[in-house]
């Protein structure tokens, strides 16, 4: 591994995986962590609990459609929900740069509380550290979360022919953050939203949802590659079916970004049994956060992620490598 940590080690792609494997997994050897799921699934006196953590370093801290506070709630709720858990309790820990405006802090706390209340989760414990000016950039927020497992999502049941579903347009969050950072005046909003309501409806509809993940850093390219990692099957994605907003597509074309690699903060990718896929899709479309849901692809027997382009050719979707986009979440 490299001698020094670089931005790519935090982008959710190949370098992040290397870092996790070489530095963390090797030391923190235990079966739960080794699964590298979005939440750990624990058993405490016979109860199955999901436990997750995320630090949020979003920059800029306020963006159209959200802010670092809202994101810190939705992101952690989603990490619990995709594991089949009902989110119950959150912690929040702030690292604040000396001189940060109290007004901005109050605005962030406001949106955390609004989102938590809407989602029916309680912020039950917290911590605040203040560091000297220049030792942090404005504010970093960690939220950890606990949920109770209501449905077990078993990746090992995935088989050829299973369908890949997504609840809406891709790349909205990543495009929004990057446009803000570069001061592009495009009408881009983050999709940041708590998905547990939508996911609960999906889980009620089918007991054959085999995998769910929210495609944040690294975008759907990273998640699709994670699904097939160390497996002998692959995924074929139909570009025609990929929901992408025109503004996001335009943004990507101007700047040369791949929308498949852009972060989402209100999206879930689900692998669903082929028979059940249509009814899961229907239920998704009935939910406000799933109106643009689509079946975007399926599990195939060739062990890689392939995109069937609009003109009919196939291209390989690789695990993102060194996207160099820090502080997207």
């Amino acid at each position: 591994m490299e001698d020094r940590i670089n931005i790519g080690h935090g982008d959710g792609g190949k370098l992040t995986q290397d870092l996790i494997k070489e530095v963390f997994l090797d030391k923190f050897k235990n079966a739960v962590l080794a699964k590298l799921e979005d939440s750990a699934v624990l058993e405490i006196e016979g109860k199955k609990i999901a436990f997750t953590t995320d630090s949020y370093t979003l920059s800029p801290i306020f963006i159209p459609g959200g802010d670092i506070g809202k994101l810190a709630i939705t992101g952690t709720i989603n990490d619990l929900a995709v594991m089949g858990a009902k989110p119950l309790f959150l912690s929040c820990a702030f690292v604040i740069e000396e001189g940060f405006e109290t007004k901005a802090l109050k605005k962030i706390v406001d949106s955390m509380q609004n989102e938590a209340e809407k989602a029916g989760v309680a912020l039950v414990t917290g911590d605040t550290k203040v560091v000297e000016k220049g030792s942090a950039d404005k504010i970093f927020i960690n939220t950890s979360g606990i949920g109770i497992i209501i449905s077990s999502v078993a990746k090992d049941r995935i088989e050829i022919g299973d369908k890949i579903l997504i609840n809406g347009t891709i790349g909205d969050h990543g495009a929004c953050v990057l446009a803000q950072r570069n001061k592009f005046d495009l009408n881009l909003k983050t999709d940041c939203a708590s998905l547990h309501g939508l996911i609960e409806n999906m889980l009620k509809t089918s007991s054959n949802i085999k995998f769910m993940r929210d495609p944040t850093r690294g975008g759907i390219a990273a998640i699709l590659n994670e699904i097939i990692q160390d497996k002998d099957f692959g995924i074929l994605v139909d570009e025609d079916k990929l929901p992408i907003k025109d503004e996001v597509m335009a943004f990507c074309e101007i700047l040369g970004f791949d929308p498949l690699q852009l972060a989402n903060e209100g999206k879930v990718i689900a692998v669903v049994d082929r028979e059940d896929a249509p009814k899961v899709l229907k239920v998704m479309k009935e939910h406000p956060l799933g109106r643009d849901a689509e079946i975007i692809g399926e599990i195939i027997d060739e062990p890689r992620v392939l995109l069937k382009t609009k003109i009919g050719t196939h291209r390989i979707i690789d695990m993102p490598l060194g996207i160099q986009l820090p502080r997207i979440c």
Copy 2:
């Protein structure tokens, strides 16, 4: 409240309390958070669970006797233990500055794993973010923890005559960090240690341990004041009984610090029924982390924290106000 966050808002004293009350509690209204304990005590399907979070911003990151990694484990374990919980699972989330040495990261991860293993807790979920050079100072670590409540510690049972116990010398951690920062060559080591074993022994010995807290930021001055907050009783501390290392005393005298306000990372303050205090003290002294344990004071009917000095006078120990010592933990 002030327009901008200042270093004092993070020092664990009066300003931190103001920030928590005015910015957080006012918004995040819920009964669990409002207790402002070291851990939240939650009920999940009939099981009592403790849940806590802390972000660690220690500077320098390596100090005699420990480092930011060890501290991130012991600190969170202790926050669970003082609530009467057996620590079970920890999360860890890293915010790393671009360019941070992989070797240093590995060393930190090493000491996290060593401490977790020794303490019998598992690191089950994690997160890594990398921010641009200059956007964070080296590394910040958040650990959140889950434990199962084995004994309920009920602050509301405190009464006049109860004894105040501590398991050893005060101010070691704070003095060590400050000496390192100022490059003083004094033989000072952090006391950073996981206290759950000691605390379990104490709880087994007496069902009349009414309160426990680890006196970190703000030192024992902050904790003693927290105990009597909004109460009609006070605390009398006997200076003669306060265990302080000679080196720490010398350090404080040279630099004008009050050892009562210096952070500890391997100490627990307990309020114990007067009858049970001697046997709890005995059990503490039998544990490697309690050899220097003492009964340092008692609950009195005058509602403030008083220090009976070595020369027999009384001075008030106030809640620390603006100690201006960031990144002690």
